[in-house]
Amino acid sequence: MASQPIRKPTRLEPWQDPGQTPYVRIDRVTKRFGDFVAVDEVSLSIHRGEFFALLGGSGSGKTTLLRMLAGFETPSDGKIYIDGVDMTGIPPYERPVNMMFQSYALFPHMTVEQNVAFGLKQDRVPKPEIRDRVAEMLNLVQLGQFAKRKPHQLSGGQRQRVALARSLVKRPKLLLLDEPLGALDRRLREQTQFELVNIQERLGITFIVVTHDQEEAMTMSSRIAVMNHGKIAQVGTPSEVYEYPNSRFVSEFIGSVNLFEGIVAEEQSDHVLIRSEEAGCDLYINHGVMVPPGTRVAVAIRPEKITLAKEAPAAADGRNLARGLVREIAYLGDMSIYLVQLAGGKTVRVTAPNVTRRTEMPITWEDEVYLSWQPFAGVVLTQ
C-alpha cells in the first residue's frame, strides 16, 4: 500500500535540528464559524524547503488551515508567522504566499500566458522580465507551445500545470496547494506526484499541500500532519506515521491495520507483554510503554507484517501466534489479501506478496492457518 518516501535521506532533517528556526510557525490557531470549531488550537512548525502535507478527511479543518495561511480566512485565535513575520491583518494580496486552487481557478478570459503573467503584473514587474519569467515557467511545466491558448482549450492535466506555473512564477516564500491532484485521473496523478516533487526540489520553495489521499501524502511529502476534527492527530515523516501511529485514528486512517484489545501483563523498559483474548494469545512487543500493568490498551499490527502458514512455525513459544480459518481471499495481482477469522471471532486482515504463481498457492478458503509476527511488528496504542 504505502510506497516508500522517494526523498533522498539527508544527514539531519531540519525539524530534528534544534538550532533551526521554523520558517512557518502556526501558533495555537483556532478558527470558529459560529458555533462550529473548524480548527482547534493547532500549532505547527514547518521548515524552509519542506514538502509538508496536511492530511485528513472532509471537515477535518485542513482546508481552513490552508486558507488561513493564504489569508482568505482570519484566525479566531492564535497567530501565524511566515519567515518570522506575524501575518495577522495582512491581506492575501500582500502575503509572500501563493496558492494553487483545487478548481485551479484559471481565469477563463485570459490565455495561458496572461494567466501566468497576472501575478507579476500586479507587482509591476517590467514587461521584458515578465515575458522571460513566464516563458521560463511555462517551459518548466512543459507548456511552452500552449502559451496562446485559453484554459478551456486545455486538458485537465495541462490546466493543472498552468495553475502550478501561475502560483510559482512569483517565487513565493511558501506555496499552498489545495488538493493539487484531486481532479486528475489515476494514472496522471501518479506521474504528476513525481513531477511536483521534482519541481519543488529544483526551486527549493516550501510547499504545504492539503490532501485527503494518504497515498499522495506519503509519496510526496517530507512530513505529514494528520488532522482530525480540527486538531492535529500526529506529525511525522511518512514512515513515522505509518510505522508508529500514536492513536487508533491515525493507524486506521493511514493504511489498514488490525487492532487487538488487551491488558498489559508485564511492562519492562525493553518490552511489554499484553494478554489479548481477541487475539487468543499473548502479544510480545519489543518496546516499552509508559503504562502500569493492568491497563487496557490496543495493539496495532499492519497486515503485511503478519505471516500466514499452514503449519505452526518452528520455535513458537505461543506468543505472537494466532490460529484461524481463511474466510476470504482477494487476489490483487502483486499481492493477495486474506481475511482470517480467529477462534474468538475477530477477523484479521493479512496481506502477502504473490512471490510464487497463483496456481501453486498453498492456502485456500476454509484452510486452518497460523498467523505469526515479529516482536517489532506491533505498536501499543494507549490513546
Binding site: F33, E73, T74
Partner: protein, 307 residues
C-alpha cells in the same frame, strides 16, 4: 465561507451596498409609507389633493398649541361598505386564479416537452417561448383585439364554417381577459417550470420504470412532486401581478369586468381621489403580502441551491 474577502472589501463594500440600498429605500419603500399616510387623509380639491394628517392647532381659549393628528378611516370603511370594491377584489382573485391555472395547463406540458427534447434543441425551443416576452406586451394584447372582435377573425371563421350565423363577439368580456392574460403571462410560467424539469435526473424515471411503475404513474409520483418548486414559483409569478393587472382588462374586458387595478386607476385618474386610490393600493398590498413572501422564500431557496 470567505469571511476575509468581506472584511477586506469593507471600505468599498459599504458603498456597494449603500447605493442600491438608498435608492430602493427612497424610491420603493418610502413611497409605500406615503401611500399609507395618504390613505388616512381626506380628499380635497387642492394641490396635492389630500389633507395633511397632522396639524398644529392653536387653541385660543387656553392659548396653547396642540399637535392634532386626524386619522380618517372612512376610505377603508368605504371599501367594506361599497360592494364595488369587494366585488372587484373577488373578481380579480378569480381572474388571476383562472389565468394561473390556464398558464399551468398549457405551460407544464410545454416545459416538460422542451425538457425532454434533445439538449441541442432545448435552447432554441426555450428561446421561442421567451421571444414574445421581448416584444411589446401592449402589442401582444392588441393583437388579440383583431382576433376576438365581433367581426374579427374567430367570428368570421365561425360564420364561414357555419357554426354561428350571427357575428360572435368574445371581445369585451371576461373570456377575452382570460385569453389575453394567459397569453401574456405564459412565458413566466414556462420559464421556472423548465428550469426545475430540466434539472431532473432522467435516471429517476428510469429507476421508477425499472421498479415497475407505468409512465403516467411515474410522472405522478416522481416528476410532479419534484417539479413542485417550479410549479409554485411559476404560479406565483403569474398570480401576483395578475391580481393587480390593469392593461389587459382595460383593453379586452367589458365595462363590467371589474378588477381592482382598474378601480384604482379610475379612482386616481377619473375621480382624482388620491386617498381612496391609496387605500385600495394598501389593501391590495396587504392581500399580496403573503404570496409575495412565499415567492421570495422560493426565490431565495433557488438562489441557495444554485450556489
Amino acid at each position: 465561507m470567505s469571511g476575509l474577502i468581506h472584511r477586506l472589501m469593507t471600505r468599498g463594500r459599504g458603498l456597494v451596498v449603500a447605493v442600491p440600498y438608498v435608492w430602493l429605500l427612497l424610491f420603493f419603500l418610502v413611497p409605500f409609507l406615503i401611500i399609507l399616510y395618504i390613505s388616512f387623509s381626506e380628499a380635497v380639491i387642492a394641490q396635492p389633493p389630500f389633507t395633511p394628517l397632522a396639524e398644529l392647532v392653536r387653541d385660543e381659549d387656553f392659548g396653547t398649541t396642540k399637535l392634532q393628528i386626524l386619522l380618517n378611516l372612512s376610505n377603508y370603511q368605504r371599501m367594506f361598505e361599497d360592494d364595488l370594491y369587494i366585488l372587484a377584489y373577488l373578481n380579480s382573485v378569480k381572474i388571476a386564479l383562472i389565468t394561473t391555472l390556464a398558464c399551468l395547463l398549457i405551460g407544464y406540458p410545454m416545459a416538460y416537452a422542451i425538457a425532454k427534447a434533445p439538449p441541442s434543441r432545448r435552447g432554441t425551443l426555450m428561446m421561442l417561448v421567451i421571444l414574445p416576452f421581448w416584444t411589446s406586451f401592449l402589442i401582444r394584447i392588441y393583437a388579440w383585439i383583431g382576433i376576438l372582435k365581433g367581426n374579427g377573425l374567430i367570428s368570421n371563421f365561425l360564420q364561414w364554417a357555419g357554426i354561428t350565423a350571427e357575428p360572435f363577439e368574445i371581445l369585451y368580456s371576461d373570456w377575452a381577459v382570460y385569453i389575453g392574460m394567459t397569453y401574456v403571462y405564459l412565458p413566466f410560467m414556462v420559464l421556472p417550470l423548465y428550469a426545475t424539469l430540466e434539472k431532473l435526473d432522467p435516471a429517476l424515471l428510469e429507476a421508477a420504470a425499472d421498479l415497475g411503475s407505468r409512465p403516467f404513474r411515474a410522472f405522478l409520483q416522481v416528476t410532479l412532486p419534484l417539479s413542485l418548486p417550479g410549479i409554485v414559483a411559476g404560479s406565483l409569478l403569474v398570480f401576483i401581478p395578475s391580481v393587480g393587472e390593469f392593461v389587459t382588462p382595460e383593453l379586452l374586458g367589458g365595462p363590467d369586468t371589474l378588477m381592482i387595478g382598474r378601480v384604482l386607476w379610475n379612482e386616481f385618474f377619473a375621480n382624482r381621489d388620491w386617498p381612496v386610490a391609496s387605500a385600495v393600493a394598501v389593501a391590495l398590498l396587504l392581500f399580496l403580502v403573503i404570496p409575495i413572501m412565499v415567492f421570495q422564500h422560493v426565490q431565495g431557496r433557488q438562489m441557495e441551491e444554485a450556489r
